[in-house]
Symmetry: C2
Subunit: 335 residues, 2 copies
DNA sequence: CTTAGCACTCACGGTCATAGAGTGCTAATT
DNA sequence: AATTAGCACTCTATGACCGTGAGTGCTAAG
């Protein structure tokens, strides 16, 4: 793969990405290679097809990149784009004005990312490597039932109604909660389930403390998405069946969570192109993923879903901006 | 509007609803009116067009109902459908197995409703006519900052980091929380903001208590939706622009919340057909809305969005089933 | 009031021809 | 040896044309 071939591949990718029209030798010569004739470019194109980087929709059409072509482009030719400073400022500003609430920040991230990427944005909730119990509270809601509130580091709160002895009044519950706080403070889910509970603690309470902490650790099962409206603008999704296939995945929380968590990069950028997706339903799509981090132990995934001809360079730059701002916003809130 | 005309209108609505093909006099005669000739039906159809209940896509095509036609159908001709017992049982069963968590139940409701209606489902969070404070807790997260936790009736919990005096330790915070609980217990947001706070209470805490309660009262601003994948199956949304228009509303939380809360029926069924929608973007859609209630003071809205030729009878029946089960599930959890 | 009959309308689908973009190959050029 | 001009060929997209058939409205008879 010599340099000229790379330039041509790059030109085809850029051009097709913007126009969504198969690009021919003539157009290339005119738009990108004033110094070459269309015949020369034809020869190169022909070889790029042989090598699997390009394809022809039909014999007398221009070329479009294959998934392999995009892969090469992403791995070796990706232009380092930057987010225009005015846009950058504007986005930063909107994150600074975000409501101090985890959900609100995640939603802002999704909305912003879908706007900036002009595609579908995915955001997972923050995952904590190890949630530690800070505080326990029990509030009587009716005889025999109390609302258990567990607070962990990172301001995570878990609540659940539990059964308690019918003879316990609010006074007794508060005392019990204080004992539990003293007993378990600073512990993780594993430690809690191993340590014997203080005398008189209802069984369900301890169970719920541990499982609550575990839930806090894996809020990543929550995947929010935004920007489906952008998807339908792409000519490749004019076919209702294709669109439906993708929508089915996007709306299936579990599947989506599995896909994202399988791919989630701890650091840096992860790009999955078309057929590289394990999920058949996503084989017309590309994913661009990265992670945000808030503090040392808290992190989540941010991603963009679009057609394989998505503008990788631009999307990557904007994704990284949003990831950084999301991390910062959550840090301010949680640590 | 005599009875025969009504029958014909009903037949056109039913037929078009199922086939999505303009229905002609001949087809009507053959399928629904064996005793009448197509010529007679033609005369009636022609009058129904004059009256505004039907329309013709073009001069030599069959008839399709207008919004007014659907309105008449819904108001006077709607068949009382019932949900088939096996389906009913199956749905009831899935609600019985729902996780004891408000969000989980609402999501189950949305998923179920979109499946049963074969359209887009909308669900708002429960609104409380008047939230009353049950319990206050303050947890030190770092010097000068504490996590304020307010518990109201209906197991509603609000949390927020607030600024407190840097000299307060956890001990002092707990005492303060106890005083606040004693001081404000049983009060609504309005009452709290009027009553003077106990000495030594940081200003932000009282403010936050009141605004937290108000937020609990109006969790209706949360509207979740599911089943967009069903939307693209409808031939009327094959046009990407139409689809996009609707998607833009569905993805705009605020707008959607405004639409739903404006229409939300306190009781019974509310149907909005095509142009009856205030929002221009929804003029190709119909909404079918009802409310669910959990206990005496807690209620929310459930709805279906589909094309104007949605099967009103069937959707209404299924919507009411889901509404009932949602209410029951939330009641079990919250009261 | 209903219906048979009839002329008329119009979308739909198929065929056909044309235009134009694009290719691959060959031979000439540098 | 690489590049390019030239040319024949391929294939799609577009638009014109036309027959078919579903459906209508109107009229006159039952």
């Amino acid at each position: 793969m010599d340099q000229r071939k790379e330039r041509i591949l790059g030109a085809v990718v850029s051009d097709y990405t913007e126009t969504v029209v198969p690009v021919g030798s003539h157009a290339l010569a005119a738009r990108y290679f004033l110094e070459l004739s269309s015949a020369t470019i034809r020869n190169e194109l022909s070889e790029l097809v042989d090598d699997g980087f390009l394809a022809q929709p039909h014999a007398s059409a221009g070329r479009i990149p294959t998934d392999l072509g995009y892969r090469y482009f992403v791995d070796f030719l990706l232009p380092q784009e930057i987010v225009e400073p005015p846009l950058r400022r504007q986005v930063r500003h909107s994150f600074e004005g975000a409501a101090p609430d985890v959900e609100a920040i995640l939603e802002l991230a999704a909305a912003t990312l879908s706007r900036l990427s002009e595609n579908v944005a995915l955001v997972t909730g923050p995952t904590q490597s190890e949630a530690r119990l800070l505080h326990v509270e029990l509030v009587l809601v009716r005889p025999g039932q109390a609302l258990l509130i567990a607070v962990a580091n990172g301001n995570a709160v878990h609540q659940r109604v539990v059964e308690v002895g019918a003879d316990l009044d609010q006074e007794a519950l508060s005392q019990l909660a204080n004992r539990l706080t003293a007993h378990y403070a600073g512990m993780s889910a594993g430690a809690i389930s191993q340590l014997a509970a203080p005398a008189g603690t209802p069984a369900q309470v301890v169970q719920e403390l541990a499982s609550g902490l575990r839930q806090m650790e894996t809020r990543a099962s929550l995947v929010i998405h935004d920007g489906v409206r952008n998807l339908v603008r792409n000519p490749e999704f004019e076919d209702p069946n294709r669109l439906r296939t993708v929508l089915e995945v996007l709306e299936a929380q579990r599947i989506l969570a599995a896909v994202v968590s399988e791919l989630a990069p701890r650091v840096g950028l992860q790009v999955v192109i078309g057929h590289e997706n394990r999920l058949q339903e996503l084989q017309d799509c590309s994913l661009v993923l990265t992670s945000y981090r808030a503090g040392d132990h808290l992190w989540g995934t941010l991603g963009v879903v679009g057609p394989t001809r998505i503008r990788y360079g631009r999307v990557a730059a904007r994704l990284q901006l949003v990831s950084q701002l999301t991390g910062e916003a959550l840090s301010r809130l949680l640590t």
